[in-house]
């Protein structure tokens, strides 16, 4: 540890002080009491490095760059740091560094984006190194204090022991000295098999406040002198405000101001949100509905259907010659599937609180990407990022809605600009949230399979037609009309989803057709519909070939041992091959995505009235390394609710250019009564880091659809299931 020398370092506190010079001096009172909700460490706590703060009383604050939205990343990332730190876990709490601090410190915390199940899989290396480096510095500081070599000292449970003499000290006592050392550059990490904090099913750090009402969400924020805003954006995407009559509501209780928000929206600012919303509902607005006012679900479906046969398409996976194989097949099987628009419908509607002056702008918001929120703030405020700040707040659900685009943050800043110096909280109504989502993309898929005389699959053609999320959000990343994310789970290789089946002739391509409805990354992203398309069609092929769906898949997965292992696990545990309980039937699905291998076996029954019951789902996940097994189980279970909500009910339809569903009465989601028992099998095989928040979601729907076929003989090829008549023919 010779590289640690006693040099003063530029510290967190100096930067905090510099930011403080800009600050408008507004701190949210309730939130200030919360460790992780926002803000910086009190000025007395020494920072050992960017990730670790140790207070004199031995309490430890671990800084978390990614956002907690329910997926447990806050606890998982803290476990990884604490593991390498040899911390006393009972003394650990967490906080978010702000995006402004990240900017000021040359991105000391790296990427803040929290999506694509990347929280842990992309940052495990440097956060563990952060913990390890801090431990090395604390040990070195203790050794220097004793005048002994650091190599004679050991750290455990936040205590450092000089082994030859038996002397001990604690992290809190040496933290200040440690903070003055130069960080090590050679930082060995522990083998995951030796983990004692990471890898364990520890309780979450953020549970208690979520059981007593104390957790402050963005929607709950109250700042001194704050006003509230309710907004209505043109319900037709691409339309704008023609006019509004502010005078009609100016005298209503509590109303302060009626303001345009960009060209497309109008907001009412009032003392309370309810009064703002009441006045907004009464506000006469005329819309210029723009060029998309005639678009409907039917017209979109026609465009996608044409794409299924279009000569031009971007190739995602090609081997051999699928067309020739299909032309010469002993038996051809063909099917067309479809997957609708869906809203994220986070329980907490979009919201942000902003305060703007000509010199500075600050925003408090639940965001999956603090840096992107800062960029949106800066643009909307007309101020450089260094004069803006974003305070992250725990999210009341994210699922991808609060990551890539920060439309609500822009709106909040534009509203606050019209009330300089006054904090204004913008909260969307549920209706606004439903009408202005960033929707799960709409696609159709035509699959054609070639079977030889023995029922072997010799060729597969898969044409996806429809929307590209990347084209909608990051159009600069589209090359030659190709969106690589469309092929999640279908690619020849790569960690975002390698197609496991060995088929000699294969062609998977995408005819991009982008309706005007804005798409977004939606938990599970494109893996959701791709798993439905491939795994239901595999089931169709198996039946056409007269083979058992498990055996049919096994033969094709012989070169994909990890795909095969999770499939075998659910087949065994789910009772595949054994008789199902009276009236029930089973279905299988497997896929790889977000770096993990997943499979499911669903058991369902359908009564004579055609009503479906999903009794149980056995799910297996191989994420490589498992950081918190009980939270992974929670993610698997939770993602099934999300995935099954989509499969059973989720559909946003379009009429006259706008979304028709405005609330949960017309956009039903899964409730407890529909929830199956879920058995999550965690089988981390080591050697890689896969995500857990998303991948398993994708196998729920196809496993259920295949079980429905087994129960009823009916293939459901268009989701959601609520449109299907499942009564036995």
């Amino acid at each position: 540890m010779n590289q640690i020398a006693s040099l003063p370092r530029r510290g967190f506190l100096q930067v905090s002080a510099a930011l403080g010079a800009f600050t408008l001096g507004i701190r949210p009172p309730e939130a200030a009491a919360q460790g992780a909700a926002q803000g910086t460490t009190p000025a007395t706590a020494p920072e050992v490095n960017a990730w670790v703060v140790v207070k004199p009383d031995d309490s430890i604050i671990i800084r978390i760059a990614r956002s907690e939205m329910g997926q447990g990343t806050l606890t998982g990332l803290a476990q990884l740091v604490a593991e390498e730190l040899n911390a006393d876990w009972s003394k650990v709490s967490t906080e978010y560094p702000t995006p402004g601090q990240n900017l000021a410190r040359n991105r000391a915390w790296g990427n803040m984006s929290t999506g694509g199940s990347r929280g842990i899989r992309e940052s495990h290396d440097y956060v563990r190194k952060g913990g390890a480096a801090a431990r090395m510095m604390l040990v070195e500081a203790a050794a220097q204090g004793w005048g002994v070599p650091a190599a004679e000292c050991r750290a455990a449970n936040s205590t450092i022991t000089h082994q030859p003499s038996g002397r001990t000290t604690t992290y809190g006592k040496v933290a200040e000295a440690a903070a003055r050392l130069t960080p090590p550059t050679d930082i060995p990490l522990r083998d995951p098999k030796d983990w004692t904090i990471a890898g364990k099913p520890l309780p979450r750090l953020d549970t208690v406040d979520k059981t007593n009402g104390r957790q402050v969400y963005g929607a709950d924020l109250v700042l001194p002198g704050m006003l509230n805003a309710a907004i209505r954006d043109c319900p037709v995407f691409g339309g704008k405000v023609a006019s509004f009559d502010a005078a009609k509501v100016a005298g209503m209780p509590g109303v302060k101001k009626v303001v345009p928000v960009g060209e497309t929206a109008v907001a009412v600012i009032a003392d309370t949100w309810w009064r703002a919303k009441t006045a907004l509902d009464a506000l006469p607005v005329t819309w210029d509905n723009g060029p998309n006012a005639q678009v409907s679900s039917a017209s979109i479906a026609e465009v996608l259907k044409a794409g299924l046969e279009a000569p031009e398409a971007a190739v995602g996976n090609r081997a051999g010659d699928a067309r020739t194989a299909i032309a010469g097949a002993a038996r051809r099987v063909e099917a067309t599937y479809g997957y609708p628009f869906q809203n994220h419908a986070t329980m907490e509607p979009m919201n942000a609180t902003a305060v703007w002056t000509p010199e500075r702008c600050e925003v408090w918001t639940p965001t999956q990407n603090g840096e992107a929120a800062l960029a949106a703030t800066s643009e909307a405020a007309g101020l450089p990022p260094g004069r803006c700040e974003v305070h992250k707040i725990h999210l009341g659900g994210g699922f991808g809605r609060r990551g890539a685009v920060h439309d609500w943050v822009r709106q909040a800043v534009e509203i606050a600009k019209q009330m300089p110096g006054t904090p204004v909280k913008l909260l969307w109504s549920r209706e606004e949230d439903m009408l202005h989502g960033r929707y799960h993309p709409i696609t159709q898929c035509k699959l054609t399979g070639a079977l030889d005389a023995d029922g072997n699959l010799t060729g597969l053609a898969m044409r996806i037609s429809g929307q590209s999320i990347v084209a909608g959000i990051f159009p600069q990343n589209i090359r030659d009309g190709r969106d690589p994310v469309v092929f999640q789970g279908l690619s020849p290789g790569g960690e975002e989803g390698a197609f496991g089946y060995a088929i000699p002739n294969i062609l998977i391509d995408h005819a991009m057709r982008n309706p005007h409805v804005p798409p977004g990354f939606w938990r599970g992203v494109n893996l959701n519909q791709n798993a439905v398309y491939v795994e239901c069609f595999m089931d169709e092929l198996a039946h056409a070939a007269g083979k058992d769906p498990l055996e049919f898949r096994r033969a094709l997965l012989k070169n994909s041992p990890k795909h095969l292992a999770v499939l075998n696990a659910v087949a065994e545990r789910g009772g595949w091959g054994q008789p199902a309980p009276e009236g029930r039937a089973r279905g299988l699905a497997q896929i790889m995505g977000f770096g993990s291998y997943v499979a499911a076996c669903a058991e369902v029954s359908v009564n004579p009235a055609g009503e479906l019951t999903i009794h149980r789902i056995t799910a297996a996940t191989d994420p490589g390394h498992a950081v918190n097994p009980q939270q992974i189980a929670a993610q698997v279970e939770g993602s099934f609710v999300y995935g099954l909500s989509a499969a059973l009910h989720g559909e946003c339809t379009v009429a006259e250019g706008r979304i028709e569903q405005e609330n949960f009465d017309t956009y039903p989601v899964m409730r407890m009564a529909e929830m199956p028992a879920v058995e999550a099998i965690l089988m981390p095989s080591g050697g890689f880091w896969g995500g857990v928040g998303e991948p398993t979601i994708a196998v729920a729907a196809p496993a259920v659809l295949n079980a429905i076929f087994a129960a009823t003989g009916k293939r459901v090829r268009q989701l959601p299931l609520k449109h299907a008549d499942l009564r036995r023919a």
Binding site: P203, G638, V641, M672, A673
Partner: protein, 154 residues
């Protein structure tokens, strides 16, 4: 102007008569543990107790109340988070994002008050709150645990 008895305290509410109880609780009484999720009695995030009965506060005007009715919010369920449900929630690590959980706990508390040993079917029939994070199975398990084990299966 309404006078409401919230968590044992009488609060003066300076709001129009048609203001939903939810917004009076959140914006006038300043108790933000009760959440807004839909505003149309669909999701249950706004559930409070009115004289012990689980009530979706977004869909009741303040004018329907006076100080004779006892309104209890998540903040008033127990003084220190020690209600058996809250303890079970912590023991089983039920919440994910947590946004729906105040409403879940209040709905569950009203259920247990009326039916101390609910069966799984009772729970699944009575708890109709929406959780988009998908905590349903842990919610069900925690209600059973708070009710004192698994003796009432079915």
């Amino acid at each position: 102007m309404a006078r409401l008895n919230i968590n044992g305290r009488v609060v003066e509410i300076a709001a129009e008569d048609d203001t939903p109880l939810l917004w009076a609780i959140r914006e006038q009484a300043g108790l933000t543990g009760t959440k807004y999720g839909c505003g149309v009695a669909q999701c249950g995030a706004c559930t409070v107790h009115v004289d012990g009965v689980a009530t979706r506060s977004c869909s009741m005007p303040v004018s329907a109340f006076d100080e004779s009715q006892k309104i209890v919010t998540i903040e008033g369920l127990s003084p220190d988070g020690s209600h058996p449900l809250q303890r079970a929630w912590v023991a089983l690590d039920v919440p994910q994002c947590g946004y729906c959980q105040s409403g879940m706990i209040m709905a569950a508390a009203a259920l247990l008050a009326a039916n101390p040993k609910p069966s799984d079917a009772d729970i699944r029939g009575e708890i109709t709150n929406i959780c988009r994070c998908g905590t349903y199975n842990r919610v069900q398990a925690a209600i059973k645990q708070a009710a004192g084990g698994n003796q009432a299966n079915g």
